[in-house]
Symmetry: C2
Subunit: 236 residues, 2 copies
């Protein structure tokens, strides 16, 4: 009987075509600097812009009653032709291999991302209704497949046991010289601090001489890390 069931599964449809209902508009032109999970930098603001077919405020009726949302999206910058059964999570220093389904790595058989974000507001714009969210970990332009309300009684398991990632990494102290901080729009200063405090370096690198740079909000931010401190060298 078991075999009979599997035969049924094996003739089932195996591939599915899904479409982008929206794209993320965020301050990250590329992956470097993006927080490693949603919620780690709650000051970080970004915007969900629907694709033309889905610019209908009716689809959002009642959403304002929820404080948090799920975004289900595609790691479109991380697609590889082949998938690997194991990956090396940055959290483990990058030298230990874990099963791909035991991690949140972007390099997955189906490159689907899952992020819990705070709903900061719904605004009507010339591009239809947009969602302002906080704490997202999506690169600018990321295609979004679905948006769901966060339902704590089904989704929140505060006591879940969490293998190699029991809590977020320790944050670093951040030093931004005042003259450089002035180049950052005031509304984005706390977000930038939060991003840097998360230590955006690849985890297996610890070279106090090395200068790193990433794009944020149209600027290029350059920094070094030494003795647990992030020092910003340039913002331009």
């Amino acid at each position: 009987m078991r075999l009979g069931i599997m035969n049924k599964y094996e003739v089932m449809k195996m591939t599915f075509s899904l479409r982008a209902i929206a794209h993320m508009r965020s301050d990250f032109p590329a992956k470097f600097g993006v927080p490693r999970q949603s919620g780690l930098v709650p000051e970080l603001k970004s915007t969900v812009v629907f694709t033309p077919e889905f610019r209908n405020p009716d689809t959002l009726r009642g959403l304002e009653g929820f404080s948090h949302l799920w975004l289900i999206w595609l790691f479109d910058r991380s697609v590889r032709a082949e998938w690997s059964p194991t990956v090396r999570p940055p959290r483990l220093g990058g030298n230990q291999r874990l099963g791909v389904f035991a991690t949140r790595s972007p390099f997955r058989p189906n490159p689907i991302g899952l992020s819990c974000v705070e709903l900061a507001g719904i605004e009507t714009t010339g591009e239809g209704p947009v969602l302002h969210v906080r704490g997202a970990d999506l690169v600018d332009g990321t295609p979004i497949l679905d948006i769901k309300p966060y339902i704590p009684y089904a989704d929140s398991r505060p006591d879940a046991r969490s293998g190699f990632a029991p809590g977020p990494s320790e944050t670093l102290e951040v030093e931004i010289p005042p003259a450089l901080l002035e180049r950052v729009p005031p509304s984005q200063r706390e977000a930038l601090r939060g991003i840097l405090a998360q230590d955006p370096r690849p985890h297996y690198q610890d070279d106090p001489e090395r200068v790193y740079g990433f794009g944020f909000a149209g600027m290029e931010v350059k920094f070094m890390v030494a003795q647990g401190r992030v020092v910003v060298l340039d913002v331009g």
Copy 2:
């Protein structure tokens, strides 16, 4: 500049092809009776069986360190040719319309389901490694697109405000006459009680004369609901 960004999005790839990495093997041959969210009936056991290409224990290395998983799957029994901007959630009696993105309705532009389940064990079988899970809300044969570990610091928001669904519906008392209960395998009795206590009727129906039936674990379960009590009439 805003317009420039949207033009960039608009030329981006809009459809994506994803494949089933696994299927659910559950006791529900059809949607009727399936709990309305994951976690509502923790006694309910089901099994994730990987498709042949993904039957590799390496993909699961380290997963045993997590107590809960996310299943990202497809509502393949709920696909409609057209999507509607609004749906009528059973929780609101079925007569109030909410935006599709403000609900967890299966009738979505991309019919993606999201379920948090408890990992009860990983077993090596003739069908490769399988995952035994508890609390799933998936019909037998449902295609699964991705499996991720549940990470409380990113995924758990116990204080999130939750619009029209602040908590699970009240459960009903369940009466199963002993002679009928004996027909249910002992390992599935608590799960059956849990399913019935959730009130599997369509929410907009309240007809104390009506007999409902659903398939569960190869049996057909018939019941009525009157005065807040579920009474099982037949199990066969």
